[in-house]
Amino acid sequence: MDVTRLRAIARKEWVQLKRDTRSMILAFVLPLFLLVFFGYAISWDVNDIRLAVLDQDHTQESRELIEAFEASGYFTVEHYLESADDVDGQLVGHRVLGVMWIPPGYAADLAAPGRRAPVQLLLDGSDANTATIALNYADAIAARHGARALLQGRSLTAPISLEARTWYNPNLESRNMIVPALIAVIMSIIAAMLTALTIAREWERGTMEQLASTPVTRLEVVLGKLAPYLAIGLFDVAVTVVAGILLFGTPMNGSVLLLAVLTTLFLIGALGLGIFISAAVKSQVLATQIAMVATYLPAVLLSGFLFDIASMPIVLKGITFLIPARYYVTVTRGIFLKGVGATVLWPQALLMLLYAVLGLTLATRAFRKELDA
């Protein structure tokens, strides 16, 4: 392997890349765009649940219950309904997410010893996740309020108290879950959309023969082509990490060095795979499409980025083990949020090393065939 030749290939690739405006946009604008979209726009923190109230009791007590819901910060009362006939329209018309129905006699039931006051909560269950969280909040508020209303200030302790403590993300902000894992998604896009073009482009423009007639070896071509993308990828990761910490306040509890090393491994694997696809199909359009399906989609859906792998059916769970982004997401969350190091993350590191070797081997081998032919 000759360093001069390798550098020449890398320079040629960089010059070509610089001339292609769309590629440059993908490389430098898209990551920021994604960061802003995912970091700012997407949030799974459920609050301001829209509620309609049908209060048929009209007492001080029923109003206090409604106030307790509003004061919690999780619910906002949008409408007060007059009759039970309105309930249907509210939910079917998607005007509110839930209807709280306080029947007549609520205050009397609450005051009567040994009797429980029934309150009906009708939720729009179509979005199961939001409905589940709303349900849990409502239960907690009702329990707390019920105890207070009954005891009039006397303190009462629950028979069993559950002291829940949340580690790694104490305020349970979805942003902290999204931003570290987003790096994996951005990297997959870079790898899929940029690298997939590199060799197919040479074929389509007819420069492949020229390249083949020069004394460069296959490994030099692959490494030379990989180098600029690796640099872009690492730059993008650095920007994402800094923006994540400064803009979004994502905690960085682990070692930056470890993150850099493991990111490089992941990138080499993903870029190698992109070059392999590009060399194998020889058409830019086809290569991009295959690379999208092979790297981007799994990185979003099967990596645990947003959707928990533990609740997937067994077959899909098995498939996730073949998705390198899965290991990388574990790594970024581990380093950012948990602050764990190599003692915990070595299995992931090992698998990503394997992936990098596999990616490079595939790329070099697919390329060899073409040069010999």
Binding site: R22, S43, D45, I133, T157, P159, I160, S311
Partner: protein, 376 residues
Amino acid sequence: MSVEGRRLSLLRIRRMVVKELRQLFRDERTKRIIFISPILQLVLFGYAVNTDVHDVATALVDHDRTTESRELVDALTASDYFRVVRTSDRSADLGYALDHGDAAVGLEIPADYGADLLAGRSPAVQLLVDGTNSNKATVAEGYATRIVQQLGVRVAGPAAQQAAAIDMRARAWFNPSLESRVYNVPAVIGVIVLLMCLLLTAMAVVREREVGTLEQLLVSPLSPGELMLGKTIPVAGVALIQLALITAVALLWFHVPLRGSVPALLLAAALFILAGLSFGLLISTISATQQEAFLSMFLFLLPAIILSGFLYPIDTMPAFFQHLTLANPLRHFLEIVRGIFLRGAGLRELWVQFTVLAAMAGAGLAVATARFRRTL
């Protein structure tokens, strides 16, 4: 161009449609994209996009080891929400399990839990939650709180009944077992139909331009309007077939209910397909090569999907992004689809979305036609 050429000739359009259909179905790869990939995507999204929390891996440290403590563990695991994956005597093991990701929740029961409970001294149990997946953590903590509260009321008898003075009876409409799949599967229809409209229209036009056959078409007696209709009618047909295919899989395989009216769904689909086609045509007018068309499509689809409410709820977005979603046809179509499938809503409840979608389809079509004529 002659006066006669400007008028739309049904015969010429039909010939063009036949030619396009032949071209579409001759290519093995296109055939696969049309029929197999939507089903694959539906299955993938139907199974992978799942926010239901169950079988949460739980690490358990029970210092008490009494009937009472076992009862607590049983109450948690009987619900299917929690599953004990590891038991140990040392508190430090909880931290280890959470750090390594072996468990998402750690439960620690103190030594005199049983005795305290029987004596009415309100024992406290400790729950450690891994917050890295904030959504799962929120839901799991909510489940645990509810289960422990119910157990407390049951165990402590009348004294504790007071703590539960309000009997909150919750019912989830439209999706009583609260499965996220029911919400996500109908929405896949919108994403796939949009993808197909963009992909097939933009690619079909740009490919002809790249190969050079667009010029041949231009010197033929076809008028730009005929050419446009000839290109888009087959795609609309394919999109409708896909709609039927995906709906069938959603109903028969995923058992998603279809409570509303089919004609309303078809009307919405027709409007949405028109909007999709006009965006496809627009992309074709700004792209010289298939590669460019594909990139433009990706850059259009990405925000369109993020801001549609498909995978990410709109209600929790900041106000600015919520307003932005209003300009997104996919958002309105998904509201219609979910409304019709799950809530049995019809034109009466969804007329706003229908109107917006119709306006977008009309405007899109007008702009696309104008640009398409100009770039030819």
